[in-house]
Amino acid sequence: MEITGAEIVIRCLHEEQVEHIFGYPGGAVLYIYDEIYKQKKFQHVLVRHEQAAVHAADAYARCTEKVGVCLVTSGPGVTNAVTGIATAFMDSIPMVILTGQVPTHAIGLDAFQECDTVGITRPCVKHNFLVKDVRDLATTIKKAFYLARTGRPGPVLVDIPKDITRDRCKFDYPKEISMRSYNPVIKGHSGQIKKAVQLMLSAERPMIYTGGGIILGNASPVLRELVDLLGYPCTNTLMGLGAYPATNEKFLGMPGMHGTYECNMAMQNCDVLVGIGARFDDRVIGNPKHFAQNPRKIIHVDIDPSSISKRVKVDLPIVGDVTEVMREMIALIKESIAAGHGTNKKALGHWWEQIAGWRTKKCLAYDQGPDVIKPQYVVEKLWEVTKGEAFITSDVGQHQMFAAQFYKFDYPRRWINSGGLGTMGVGLPYAMGVKLAHPDADVACVTGEGSIQMCIQELSTCQQYRLPVKVINLNNRYLGMVRQWQEIEYESRYAESYMDSLPDFVKLTEAYGHVGMQITKPSDVEPALREAFKMKDRLVFMDFITDREENVWPMIQTGKGLSEMLLGSEDL
């Protein structure tokens, strides 16, 4: 039996067992929406702006092991979605973005709501397709899901002209797909793994540094086994938080620009650095020349060969799936220990002593006085009140760093933020995506008064779908991170970083049908949080009026090295 292209789209999504899609209708996708109307297997979530649809689907993927799916119309639907797509691309999030396109006969004629979707999105997707024949539609969607979730994951876009959704053909969804040009390496090179294990066991000052790859590769349990077996210090990047429990002694905190003193010193002074599913990002290692000043051997495990030796020259590259490679490492280490060749316990003891010394700096200490709320305090209390088990989304800026530093993530996929692109406005739509995936879990969006206003319209979506997330607005009336840089690098000339004419967030929230609170006193922080989280079925917007000029410490200025941290204003 022949069915329409629109029906094929729906059948494909059913085949992929999609439960939620996020989108916004428009002319070019109306046949598809008509079919959505007729089915019940997945829920469509209508956002208020296409950017939020992509962010929500992105978060949905981040907090589950599924592929996020969204659907937008041609032209402005696509251009609005681009920020979301680029955000997902930078963090390697598996997503399928379905976009409407003007009919094939109108392509290239500057039709109404036409844009070159494939051209516009090419640099920020793993791959994209323009479907020109309805008979290719099912296979193309199958390829999109396959590409999105395998290898180094990423967003894949399928552009579907309107006439294709009306044309008919037989539906045949391929069970398997193979592409001669796409064969990600899964198993690491055994010889390299053997050498890596020897190097790891002979290390005197080892450091295990992991990133988002561990989360994406569902490798957290194996990482824990590896770290615990070796007894080595471990750090997770901003993208990798929760891969190793933050409350464990072996966890040194986050590395990089706003990482902990002990972690950055260990990164700089170790003799063997084992990077797994991390990419030696500029925010993580600072100036590569300074980083290279200390001699150390670097082992780098990554599924993407192009991540290896990109910013930092690596001594022992291993291309492969992080779980597979770590499993092989663990087996070899166990063999070696059984044969009496374990780790260098004596050297390791000295190394831990050195780390303990760095820890005494207490680089994250802050002083919560009686009058003004410190943003760090709010996050610490949030951690306590939610027992460290909530899903935390954040926007981008100081609040993001405070959340990363002070919410101790013990589980993977609980910390959802835009690490690579650094997109302000993701927090609320991220929280929506997470809440839909985990309706019974506590979901909080840690944000600031700048970021939240970039997607605040989604409070309306939250009302429509009854998404009782908690918004933790750390309101310092400044674009805090911009202001901090201006203070430190631009002699406190606060150009356009002051937020005047802020809305009354309580009234605004209430206008959307939610609960609003304003908290101004430190003593009210904890009771307010408890009250808010008791309201299981309500979205609560908590407007915390915080210290205006609190800075995020430690900080490594641009161009500086890992051991050149500023620990506080006194270092300026």
Binding site: R122, P123, H127, L130, M179, R180, S181, D304, P305, S306
Partner: protein
């Protein structure tokens, strides 16, 4: 250092753009680029001449391999190879210049493929240095127009680039 990167790529719309965009987005340099379908019409063969340190070229090949449409990538200069470029050059050929031009073309094993009262059009193949040398050898005043294909390359001997 000069590298010659040979790429087998799916003969799909947009595949060329993906490759060229990659060079632009990552600030890699393209000296010349040639592309045409192979004996298998589903595949195109591309030759890109690029300059860069070994590290940069390594990144280029890795990133090319990451493109979904790219099937295979090799850097030809790692092994013995042959490189050819076709140049068409239109030169002024009047009076005693006419004989001189014919002689130069012969020396470089070029062929005159079009003749008018005042011009010759010469076809020349060789590696890019040979084409450069021919241009150098001519009086720049006499060159009216040049068009070059850019280099195509292939490995010597048994080494083949195939799916």
């Amino acid at each position: 250092m000069r590298h010659i990167i040979s790429i087998l790529v799916e003969n799909e719309p947009g595949a060329l753009s993906r490759v060229v965009d990659l060079f632009a987005a990552r600030a890699y340099n393209i000296e010349t680029l040639t592309v045409a379908p192979t004996e298998d019409p589903s595949l195109s063969r591309m030759t890109i001449v690029s300059k860069g340190s070994d590290d940069v070229i390594e990144q280029i090949t890795k990133h090319l391999n990451r493109l979904i449409d790219v099937v295979k990538v090799v850097d030809l200069v790692e092994h013995p190879y042959i490189e050819r470029e076709l140049m068409l050059i239109k030169v002024r050929a009047v009076g005693k210049e006419r004989e001189e031009m014919k002689r130069m073309a012969d020396i470089f094993r070029g062929r005159i493929i079009d003749v008018t009262e005042k011009t010759y059009t010469i076809e020349l193949t060789g590696d890019s240095r040979k084409c450069d040398a021919f241009i150098e050898a001519l009086d720049s005043e006499s060159i009216l127009e040049t068009v070059r294909t850019g280099s195509s390359g292939i490995s010597r001997g048994d080494r083949i680039l195939k799916v």
